[in-house]
Symmetry: C2
Subunit: 453 residues, 2 copies
């Protein structure tokens, strides 16, 4: 293998095959029937929050922008589609020239959402918009699920920092996105080097039980670690006997030891004992990190314990019981006439025939509300949000200042890119603007009612 | 963007950053203390199955082999590690030359496993083995979770084919691995084009509600679809009124219509009605596909319904309630002396000092059994497996024929690669060799006891 090939591929050069086959067969049939170029509006929303959750968190928007920009059908992909006879030659020719030329608006990343919130709106020809469904949903459903769990954990942790360490519990690239979403939701660092590399998230980590077991004694292991990584390192103290390990740790590193980590046992009890022991040994500034099977409830239960930071794995990357959101990507409006855009055309709602609302309306719980929606979150006199207000048509003037959607892509050009810290800061601000009950961990209803105007 | 860059990156050129930072800091400290080259054995196993599950399914082994082969630290990665001061220069030099030179044995892909089963064993120097922990666990924990859900769904579906269509509910690259794992577990096809491209899995898909809504009438939509995709296509009949849609579908396509798809409502009731209607319309060979929020229980409940195939999304890619396994990667044995391998050395258990078992033994439920383990699954007179037997030391001769582990990597060279269909066939055979109660969907205990010899 050539050295030039050794790059980490989390920046994906083509996202075009992260697509369900039916997007392409629909495209083929629509190209043939002359409807492919009808101006269309698709919206992403959820019908409900996960049971008991009080708010959702939009995450992945930045990744969606990358995915849309990189959504191209190169020769390899076209050859594959041809070899499998997925679509006909006319469709392959169309795909070869594909690039999204429409508009995307959406809730900015880190914003909270509620049932029905139009978190993303994609406008353009049917053809150019329909293809994006799968990859847009993959990203938003995954990243928002992780961010929602992260947000609740961050609330439970208060001022104590949280480290994401769930890479080993999820797909290796999902892990990178999970670290990113966790950061948006309020985590401070990640163990995942790929997430540091790709997104600039601070990384951390020191040692595992294997390191202690590798050495002939715990003392040898601690000595080796401190000699190499310095006194500020974190020593793992639960391989054998915790009290003995803490004593050895302070003997080896001195009272300047950075931290000890506890990864098993009754964390509440053990943390108290270790704190007392560290204090008695003069290591008053040595921090205590806990990392065993934590979720937001376990974190909350340690609020009164002498714990300085939390490492969270499994429950974070699996959305703390809700590993996916139920976001859908639905056609909500379209023009009647077929000649209003051209191939990969200008998009937008400005030209062509009038848009008419459309919606599935069979029985069975999956019907939708037609029409492109605006969304706004008015506040009461104290500045606290009081409802998620949605409507079609023109945005009422009194809601102009509290409109939620922002432009992300205009005529195919990305205009909504921002640093990840902006999303993280926005999430904190959005949460602070909700009624106080938003941050209760107990099961509840969405903290804002959704009002259809 | 250059056309040459437009390749789908699911074949990952470097997996080296899919790694928790502590693997590298442990490496640094061990290089300095002289223990990095101690011959070591790491094992992957779970302490328990997800609650109520009767067996686990090993999946991802083929992806692990790819990940190990591609685990290299290129200049970009080294520059990143240097810029963040993750490790020192001596460690960076060591990493620049890294390639795994040890041995890997494991349960072959598709095999079933039980608590304690040593599904993978990685042997070599501590340094070369410890680095692989995170990526190995990411792959096995994710893929095995999906395969286990797929296997239960395949059992519930009996002879009816299952289509994986969960890409939109999980990370876009996790989706590709999920389609692969689902195939191992017994699914027949996937909607995910990337999975078809990367792994050769058959793909399928025709249309969504958006296609119907795009047209001025359901009849227009069906006509467009049949004209483009042929009479063998699958028409989605639940956008408006199902009975009317079925009538229109047969009018448009004739009695040779391939299939109709139902995506909402009471599937049991609707399937019966649609079957009766299709038969009355002479479309006796038109199949019925159902796709709404299915899991293994919903599939089982449709066993007596006139359904021809199932499409499964959310519950498949999220492991039907268990989105990750609890596999861990633990040091179970190591040599005492430091001069038995050299950098990235020969690995194996042949040379150097004697291996001694090691194990975490603090209280708190995470203690491990030391020593490199063999595993065998003896059968009773009827050929039915009766136990998962594990032991250290030499494999008893009478168990030689029922040994579970196979060689996968020898001295750094991959020798265990196989076609994906081999894993799929193996899974079916493994399941057939278990006691009958293995395939009960109800909650139960592991169907084989784990016996430590």
């Amino acid at each position: 293998m050539n050295t030039a090939e050794l790059e980490l591929p989390v920046s994906v050069p083509s996202t075009a095959l992260f697509t369900d086959q039916y997007e392409l067969t629909m495209l083929q049939a629509a190209l043939r029937s002359g409807t492919a170029h009808r101006r269309s509006v698709f919206e992403v929303f959820t019908r409900r929050l996960p049971e008991g959750r009080r708010y959702g968190v939009v995450a992945g928007t930045g990744r969606v922008l990358d995915a849309v920009e990189n959504f191209r059908f190169g020769p390899d992909v076209l050859d594959f589609l041809r070899s499998r006879a997925v679509v006909d030659e006319a469709t392959l020719s169309w795909l070869a020239d594909y690039r999204f030329g429409g508009d995307i608006h959406g809730y900015p990343e880190g914003e909270v959402y509620f049932p029905g919130s139009p978190v993303l709106r994609v406008e353009g020809t049917f053809a150019e918009c329909v293809l994006l469904e799968t990859v847009v949903l993959s990203i938003l459903n995954h990243d928002s699920a992780v961010a929602a769990a992260a947000s609740r954990m961050a609330v439970a942790a208060g001022d104590r920092p949280l480290v994401e360490m769930g890479a080993r519990r999820t797909h290796e690239l999902a892990a990178v996105a999970a670290a990113r979403a966790a950061y948006v939701g309020g985590f401070s660092r990640t163990s995942d080097l790929a997430a540091g590399f790709r997104y600039g998230i601070p990384t951390s980590g020191t040692s595992a039980h294997a390191f202690t077991l590798l050495h002939d004694s715990e003392r040898d292991a601690f000595t080796a670690q401190v000699e190499s990584l310095g006194r500020g390192t974190t020593l793992l103290v639960d391989t054998y006997d915790v009290a003995e390990a803490v004593r050895t740790a302070v003997e080896v590193a001195g009272p300047d030891l950075g931290a000890v980590r506890i990864d098993s046992g009754d964390l509440l009890l053990v943390a108290h004992r270790v704190r007392q022991q560290l204090d008695e040994l003069g290591a008053r500034d040595t921090r205590i990190v806990v990392t065993s099977d934590l979720d937001e409830y376990a974190i909350a239960s340690l609020a009164a314990a002498p714990v300085d930071s939390y490492g969270v794995g499994t429950q974070l990357v699996t959305g703390s019981g809700h590993p996916t959101c139920s976001m859908v990507y639905k056609l909500v409006a379209r023009a009647d006439d077929a000649d209003d855009g051209g191939t990969g055309g200008a998009g937008g709602t400005g030209g062509g025939g009038a848009l008419r609302p459309v919606a599935k309306r069979s029985l069975g719980g999956k019907s939708t509300v037609g029409g492109a929606k605006w969304a706004a979150r008015p506040r009461d006199a104290d500045g606290v949000a009081r409802a998620e207000v949605l409507g079609t048509g023109a945005l009422p003037e009194e809601l102009a200042d509290v409109r939620l959607q922002v432009p992300l892509v205009r005529a195919g050009r990305t205009i909504g890119r921002e640093p990840l810290d902006a999303a993280r800061d926005r999430h904190r601000a959005a949460l602070a603007g909700l009624p106080l009950s938003a941050t209760q961990l107990s099961r509840g209803e969405p903290v804002l009612p959704t009002e259809q105007r």
